[in-house]
């Protein structure tokens, strides 16, 4: 047993960050269950949601274990948080997911563009995280990378079909790309936490993922006959702040729906 180090605190915060991304998008996709445009798509979106929920559970459980395992003096702490505590009992400002994942489903083009943008990011991230010095993060990434490969393939396929489809589908998916693009910049913003963790060989410097992401997403957009908006410094509006708990108005509503049962009936199980 050793004392909790600053690195442990960082790893826990990082696991929460990755877990929140997965959890919030899982909840968004779950909203499509029973109301997707086609039965096959209903099943696909629910399956993607389930994969993300599984990743979120592993990450949040791990974050809670680190919190609880090593208190000051190496004494196991009281009141460490479980995955449910972290998912259901934190307020909006305590969630550190990126703002992209909390954006509403919109029409099917928006849902698919958001999935493409996020899954391409997650694929690049997990591909690197498999080499993490932290065995649990590496394990989650090694499992997740295989699942995410299917998500990105699915979303990319739809963006191409919609973009290279009818005038109406092209117009809709072009609007979706334009609407969501500003939220992609935040994915590649490094901060002190990612800096320290990348230095320790545990985390990934998010800014290093931009090139792989742009190549991947740019390729899909080009095949879809869609224009790739400006990237990096030349981009216009760059909303950010999710990693510091600053969110768009949509997250509060999502959390209210996700958390109300657990908060109204603490400890409810079924």
């Amino acid at each position: 047993m050793r004392n909790e180090t600053p690195l442990d605190t960082d790893v826990s915060a990082y696991a929460v960050r990755l877990g929140d991304d997965a959890l919030v998008l899982a909840q968004r996709l779950a909203e499509c269950s029973s109301r997707a445009p086609a039965l096959e798509e209903d099943i696909a979106l629910s399956n993607i949601a389930l994969d993300l929920l599984g990743q979120a559970r592993a990450l949040l459980t791990y974050a809670g274990e680190i919190e609880g395992a090593r208190g000051p003096g190496g004494v196991p702490r009281q009141g460490s948080r479980s995955e449910d505590d972290l998912a259901y009992l934190r307020s909006e400002r305590e969630f550190t997911n990126c703002q992209l994942v909390e954006q509403p489903n919109g029409d099917f083009a928006v849902t698919m563009a958001r999935q493409l943008f996020f899954s391409a990011y997650q694929l690049a991230l997990y591909r690197r995280l498999v080499a993490s010095a932290d065995a649990t993060l590496a394990g989650v990434a090694a499992k997740g990378v295989k699942e995410v490969a299917y998500h990105v393939d699915h979303a990319g396929g739809w963006v191409v079909r919609l973009g290279d489809g009818t005038d109406e589908s092209h117009r809709r998916v072009a609007a979706a790309v334009e609407q969501l693009w500003p939220f992609t910049h935040e994915l590649f913003e490094a901060d002190e936490l990612t800096g320290r963790l990348a230095g320790a060989g545990v985390g990934v410097d998010s800014s290093e993922l931009a090139i792989a992401w742009k190549e991947h997403v740019g390729g899909v957009l080009s095949e879809a006959t869609l224009k790739c908006p400006p990237f990096g410094e030349t981009a216009g509006w760059r909303p950010a702040g999710g990693r510091r708990g600053v969110h768009t108005e949509h997250l509060g509503f999502l959390l209210a729906e996700m958390q109300h049962l657990h908060r109204s009936h603490p400890g409810a199980k079924w």
């Binding site: 099943i43 389930l50 993300l52 592993a58 394990g139 499992k143 699942e147 299917y150 393939d153 699915h154």
Partner: protein, 162 residues
Amino acid sequence: MSPGPLASAVREALAEVTDPELPVLTIEDLGVLRDVTVGEDGRVEVTITPTYSGCPAMDVIRRDVERVLAGHGWDGAVVRTVLSPAWTTDWMSDDGRRKLREFGIAPPGPVAPVGAVAVDLVRCPRCGSAETRLVSRFGSTPCKALRACRRCLEPFDHFKPL
């Protein structure tokens, strides 16, 4: 893996634990059962690994393993879940693949490099034709894709390579 009569007996007992969604496959066929060890104090430890991160069948499988162990009186047996190395369909036994095909589900082909989606030749489990098409990459459970046969026209499930 630790050989020995008790570990073998545990493995034999666990042969009754199947995937709730694929009752023809035992957890050993699936490659979900990773290890059975017996400590010096005689304590049994069973190691399992999830198929997909969020597969609900895993909770049922874990409970079933615990039930079987308790039923045989192996007190204090521990069921450990490990994520690493990540489960792959390459661990599915040949026997498992045959049982899957007989059950009407096309077994997984070889796995593609990490991070890529495998493109493999999938034969119809009913008529054996290789003329099949993908209906959806996602099926009734996380592990399956939906396909249809161009020859016999039947839809079928395909266990995706992962």
